[in-house]
């Protein structure tokens, strides 16, 4: 008696045991092995140029935030007050 399972038996058994793809994908995602699209997680880590771009962007946002804090000149404040007053009356 040939006790060795044929390749087709093995494949069938393997299919039975295989974790459904959706579960496998979500498990990999939960373990941090894959990203939401099923790609290996390490591909999500920013490359050096991307990190540089991110930091440049961050630096730019900080600079811009400081500009936003700049005090308004009198003429703009007066214009905005007139605008607010006009709206209160209307």
């Amino acid at each position: 008696v040939n006790v060795r399972a044929s390749r087709s038996d093995k494949d069938a058994r393997s299919r039975e045991l295989r974790v459904p793809e959706v579960i496998q994908r979500s498990t990999n995602y939960a373990r941090g092995l894959k990203d939401g699209n099923g790609r290996p997680r390490h591909r999500q880590r920013a490359s050096a140029p991307e990190r540089l771009q991110d930091l440049l962007g961050e630096h730019l946002r900080l600079y811009y935030a400081e500009l936003i804090k700049e005090p308004m000149p009198g003429r703009l404040t007066a214009l905005l007050e007139r605008l607010a007053e006009r709206e209160r009356r209307s």
Partner: protein
Amino acid sequence: MALPDATQQELLRTVPHLRAFAISLSGSIDRADDLVQETLLRALANIDRFQPGTCLQAWLFTILRNLFHTEFRRRRREVEDPEGTMAGQLAVLPNQPGSVAFDELRRALAKLPHEQREALLLVSAQGFSYEEAAQITGTQLGTIKSRVNRARARLAELLHVHHAEDLGPDRLVRAVMHGADLRG
């Protein structure tokens, strides 16, 4: 035409952002304030053209940007502010920690071609999506993406940063955030 409360509030909230954009775009505080003032007056005069439910901020930025370009064409022969000499006019920045780094950035920004500068400011600084930025500048999506990429690359060149480590967080960004002297 009376402004709905929400519109008015949003308009008032947008003014500092408009001003920051105008300062970065024009390189001059006085011109920036003229631009913001003119933008507000035009917006109020044409408020009936604004479609409720659309982005008021993007609409205001479009008006300001168009005004700037009209003025830019008129003043084309005037020298811009390549060295960012407006720094002396700013009340907040020179007193802020990390202003050395901001000075470098301001000078570098001033050296970018204005199409690249506005694209970078709209997307990277102001946080508009590429689609919104394309709409504001009246260009194609691909054009705006390309301008932002070229602006980032040029900015990195001008700041002499070739690796993330050259910029932060160990050096520049951290210094900006904590007030350390970068050149120390």
